[in-house]
């Protein structure tokens, strides 16, 4: 009896301590507001440290097995479990945030961007800290999403509801800012002089890496200092002439042929390093200048950068974080019907934006707000000629590589084959599900069935679009082409060693261009899309569950969607793991 009382008493004390410590942490975070407003990174870091100490105490209580047992108690169990999630996940968030602000403060003190880098480890620490912070925030967001506020009491329900909203915004912003930090820090930490080609893609005309290169900037970096060498539109690139691609893999050339020679089409492949290398080769072949790295950005990233550098004025149009995506993907064509003027406006905006970025005239809060509000499916991709730098991009999954490894992985990309800007109205839903086991692949592996389903919609209006937006430049073979119609090429990369048992488009067996690229089978669908219509592609696959060494494959199914203006809706699922026989 005494033991039971002591058990309950101990639990109550620990739970009380958890809630009190949690309150303390929340209080510390709230008191940071003034330091944040004063942009005092040192004070923010110290405050976060105190908050992290408080939440560590709460986490210590939450991790206590006896406290965890109280999570099963009726009525209050949900409150205890929720407090436990907030304590445990919140601890990692606060600790990572403290590390990031501490490093950022030291970088500011060292005069980063103004003086040569004196301590390169600070730059990599910022990158690693930001990556850890993003992981922690995403975990907190996922765990909080699983909490049902209706089961909470003592006012915790309203607090968790608010926390869910705040953390959800934070998670979106973090997922968008982190890749920028990962790429940005990698660019500026290069000790030797490096030249970077920035492809500013127009996601209204889709390509494998995002969109057609509408404008570009050439930036050089050297020991922390950046310099804008040149900028221009695609017209200027075209004047450089075609690119020699004869040394690229046969599989790639079979699939895309002469597209690889045209500056407007060279990023057709889903494997971003191909496009990057072609851009670099094209620059070298035509300008005689070496390009060491390539960055791909689209309207989404531009809107985030717009938030960082503030509103930019070009020919009477003010572009800011709130209108950048809409203006650069739709409004610009109605406002500037003369193509040369439109290109000049894009060039001027890009130039001003990069000048401000390079001068360090950036607002972190502006970047954060823009990132949180970015609803596009854009993401930065980066490539470096230097192998170790490319490994960094690859590690942080910003390299846009198509993996050559075995495993349940499918990638989908889109290419606009109509030569128009209608992809501002294109949406895509895709799913990848692993199904029954005990099926051999034709390629000699033990396998399982899987299914890839893609719904592609052309939501463009049938009337009212500027001629430049809904034109058709592809050869006419007599198919219906009302205003707003488009032609799309959908590329699907299957898992290594997989095969298609059946392929249908709207339920009818479909003809596809088949190929092999990056050791993976792929299928290209050529679809004529009338306005207001959706087409459904279904691929029934058989894919390996063991690799070439007869080792069992592990991992959850991964579906990589296209970089596109309207964020694709992606879903993957599995019926469970298969056993080798």
């Amino acid at each position: 009896m005494v033991a039971l009382v002591l058990f309950i008493l101990y639990g109550v004390i620990r739970i009380t301590l958890m809630f009190v410590s949690l309150q303390g942490a929340i209080g510390e975070v709230q008191s940071l507001r003034a330091a944040v407003q004063n942009k005092d990174l040192g004070e923010v870091s110290r405050g976060l440290g105190k908050a992290a100490d408080s939440i560590a105490m709460a986490d210590s209580s939450a991790s206590d097995p006896i406290v965890q047992l109280f999570g099963f108690v009726p009525i209050i169990g949900g409150d205890i479990r929720t407090a436990s999630i907030v304590s445990s996940d919140g601890r990692f968030v606060l600790q990572a945030a403290q590390e990031v602000t501490h490093v950022a403060n030291q970088l500011v003190k060292s005069g980063v961007g103004k003086k040569p880098i004196s301590d390169r480890t600070l730059i990599s620490s910022l990158r690693e800290g930001m990556s850890a912070l993003d992981s922690a925030v995403q975990k907190l967001n996922t765990d909080l999403a699983s909490v049902d506020e209706a089961e909470l009491h003592f006012g915790l329900d309203s607090k968790i509801k608010t926390a869910k909203e705040v953390v959800s915004s934070l998670a979106i912003a973090s997922s968008r800012i982190t890749p920028l930090v990962q790429v940005g820090t990698t660019v500026i930490e290069q000790p030797d002089r490096k030249r970077w080609f920035v492809s500013i893609q127009n996601l209204a005309e889709l390509r494998g890496t995002g969109g057609i290169t509408g404008a570009y900037a050439v930036i050089s970096s050297e020991n922390g200092k950046l310099k804008l060498e040149e900028y221009g539109s695609d017209k200027r690139l075209l004047k450089e002439g075609p690119i020699d691609y004869k040394n690229y893999p046969q599989g790639l050339r079979n699939l895309w042929g002469a597209d690889l020679s045209d500056w407007r089409d060279i990023n057709v492949s889903a494997h971003a390093p191909y496009a990057a290398q072609l851009l670099a080769d094209g620059w070298q072949q035509n300008r005689g200048k070496r390009v060491d790295g390539v960055l791909f950005i689209g309207q989404g990233v531009v809107s985030q950068l717009s938030g960082a550098v503030g509103p930019v004025d070009a020919r009477g149009v003010v572009v800011d974080k709130d209108n950048a995506v809409e203006f650069l993907s739709k409004d610009i064509y109605a406002r500037f019907t003369n193509v040369q003027t439109k290109d000049a406006v894009v060039g001027e905006l890009a130039s001003e934006m990069f000048k401000r970025l390079i001068a360090g005239k950036v607002s972190v809060s502006g970047l954060f707000a823009a990132a949180a509000n970015d609803t596009t499916g854009d993401r930065i991709l980066a490539w470096s000629r230097d192998k170790s730098t490319q490994q960094v991009f690859s590690k942080y999954r910003v390299s846009g590589e198509i993996s050559q490894s075995f495993g349940p992985s499918v990638a989908v990309t889109l290419n606009n084959a109509g030569g128009n800007k209608l992809d501002a109205y294109t949406t895509l839903k895709a799913s990848y599900s692993l199904g029954v086991c005990n099926v051999d692949t034709f390629t000699g592996y033990q396998g399982r069935r899987s299914r890839v389903t893609i719904d592609l919609s052309n939501n463009s209006p049938k009337i009212g679009l500027p001629a430049y937006v809904d034109m058709r430049l592809d050869t006419n073979f007599g198919e219906p082409r009302p205003k707003g119609s488009n032609r799309e090429l959908i590329t699907v990369y299957g898992p290594v060693g997989s095969e298609a048992e059946s392929i249908t488009v709207d339920g009818v067996p479909g003809f596809t261009v088949n190929g092999m690229d990056r050791n993976r089978p792929l299928w290209i669908f050529d679809l004529n899309m009338l306005p207001g219509t959706t087409k459904e592609i279904v691929l029934n696959l058989v894919e390996p569950i063991n690799d070439e060494n007869d080792e069992k494959l592990s991992g959850t199914p991964s579906l990589q969607g296209p970089v596109m203006l309207n964020a694709p809706a992606l879903r993957s699922s599995s019926t469970g793991a298969c056993s080798l026989q």
Partner: protein, 224 residues
């Protein structure tokens, strides 16, 4: 004067011919070669292929690059730019190259192209070999054994002829021919080994009407 003009004309024409294909915007303008069959292709089964995005009325033919005895099949592109042709396929498993005749620049609305597509017939057998020795000293009459199980997915490949070559420092030393047993297994034994060095074995599986050819090399075995 006439010679000079001719030289100038030739120079002009040469300058106008790019060393690489003409620009190709938007994407996907070039003709394509696609297969109707998405599933498993059995040797001997005919294949249906479509050549698309060729100007109407243009001649199109397809053939196998590396399969003897199968005639090319010809047709003419229709009003929608496509031609669908059926062609017999090779009777032995393996990878074959289906190719079109050259499609002229006029018919391709750009650069002249010849399209190819790798087509795989038959199943693939996998071999995971082991190489062991009865003694690591070359002076003690070692016997080198090479063994493996041959299978395709979960199917054991029975009664199939296997050739095993024993190499010393990359040079073929001896050859043994074996057959897989009821469990798809085989063991090849090499005797009369007298030299020290790095030994590897190359296991060759010849293609038939079911399985494609396979060639696998073991890890190196060092004898002192």
């Amino acid at each position: 004067m006439k010679t000079k003009l001719t030289t100038l004309a030739v120079a002009f024409v040469l300058a106008a011919i790019p060393s690489i294909p003409a620009l190709a915007y938007p994407t996907g303008q070039a003709p394509t070669l696609s297969l109707s069959a998405s599933g498993r292709l059995t040797p001997g089964q005919s294949v249906s292929a479509t050549v698309a995005r060729v100007k109407p009325g243009c001649p199109v033919s397809i053939s196998w690059n590396n399969a003897a005895g199968i005639s090319a099949v010809s047709g003419t592109s229709g009003a929608d730019g496509t031609t669908t042709l059926s062609i017999a396929s090779p009777k032995i498993s393996g990878t074959y190259v289906l190719t079109t005749s050259a499609i002229s620049a006029v018919c391709a609305a750009g650069s002249a192209v010849t399209l190819t597509s790798n087509v795989v017939f038959g199943k693939i057998a996998t071999i995971t070999p082991k190489i062991v020795t009865s003694n690591v000293s070359s002076k003690k009459k070692p016997v080198i054994s090479v063994s493996a199980i041959v299978k395709s997915g979960t199917t054991l490949v029975k009664s199939k002829s296997i050739t095993v070559d024993l190499n010393l420092a990359g040079k073929k030393l001896k050859t043994v021919k074996v057959k897989t047993d009821a469990k798809g297994a085989f063991t090849a034994k090499f005797t009369g080994i007298t030299k020290a060095g790095k030994y590897t074995a190359v296991i060759t599986f010849t293609a038939d009407s079911i399985y494609s050819a396979a060639k696998v090399t073991t890890k190196a075995l060092t004898l002192k």
